[in-house]
């Protein structure tokens, strides 16, 4: 699983993104209003574009990010439970991405101090795919992946 993930991530070039990170305002205090929705990130088609839209550089693979309550096989792609926990110090943000969805980013969570860097939600998956947990901790981006297969079911039709 790891090999495939690295291939995807290698594609991202971190250099020019660092400048964007500096200019990025998405964590500025007072900006977390209801109207704050990162359109560019949700329209991104790749991990590279998504992280760029967040204002980050190439994420490093991390073993400190774990999936829990996340099945290897989902009986239905309409509801796939995903649990993500980060053991990285100063985790500020957790995002869930589905590689083969039309837009990769499904959800992103800001984790204030006092809130545990661990949460669960449910996402749609159009087909079997890698799921990524992208974590921002102490200003840097990290990522872990897990493959989830989506099955056909029932009587058909």
């Amino acid at each position: 699983m790891d090999a495939g993930r690295r291939d995807v991530l290698k594609a991202g070039s971190g250099v020019s993104l660092l400048a964007l990170l500096a200019a990025a305002g998405w964590l500025k205090p007072g900006e977390a209003q209801a109207a704050d929705w990162n359109k560019a990130a949700f329209e991104a088609k790749s991990m590279e574009e998504t992280v760029k839209a967040f204002g980050g550089g190439t994420p490093a693979t991390s073993k400190d990010i774990t999936f829990f309550s996340t099945p290897d096989i989902a009986e239905n792609g309409a509801v796939v439970p995903i649990g993500v926990a980060s053991a990285l110090p100063k985790t500020e943000q957790i995002a869930i991405l589905v590689e083969k969805n039309p837009n990769m980013l499904a959800a992103t969570f800001d984790i204030p101090a006092g809130t545990e860097p661990s949460l669960t939600t449910r996402v749609k998956m159009g087909q079997s795919s890698n799921v990524y947990a992208l974590v921002k901790a102490d200003g840097k981006y990290y990522v872990a992946s897990k493959e989830v297969k989506v099955t056909l079911g029932g009587c058909g039709g």
Binding site: A34, D36, V79
Partner: protein, 104 residues
């Protein structure tokens, strides 16, 4: 108007409050077609904010890939039994819903 959320919040002995939220929402992707072949417009929750005593304990941005009738669970510190947790969502049409639960 949107139907209420179901919010459960429980604090354990170590002072960690677990919050579980179920929301009523179609979370329409904008990629499906109706019977006549017309695209059903996207309609989904974009922002979720949970607060405790005026302090934000979680904020989220969602896309249409979050499942219909969304479920979310998370944990935070600093609350006590009897406190209130408020959850607000806002969708891409500007509809909004706020509900609260008492921490048990």
């Amino acid at each position: 108007m949107a139907d209420p959320m179901r919010i459960r919040a429980n604090v354990d002995a170590s002072g960690v409050t677990e919050v579980k939220v179920l929301m009523n929402h179609e979370m329409e992707t904008g990629q499906r077609k109706d019977a006549s072949g017309k695209t059903i417009p996207a309609w989904f929750i974009q922002n979720v904010t949970a607060t405790h005593g005026g302090r934000t304990v979680l904020s989220a941005q969602w896309g249409p890939a979050v499942s219909k009738n969304p479920f979310l669970s998370f944990k935070f510190k600093g609350a006590q039994k009897g406190d209130k947790v408020q959850v607000t969502w806002v969708d891409n049409r500007g509809d909004k819903r706020t509900d609260e639960a008492t921490i048990a």
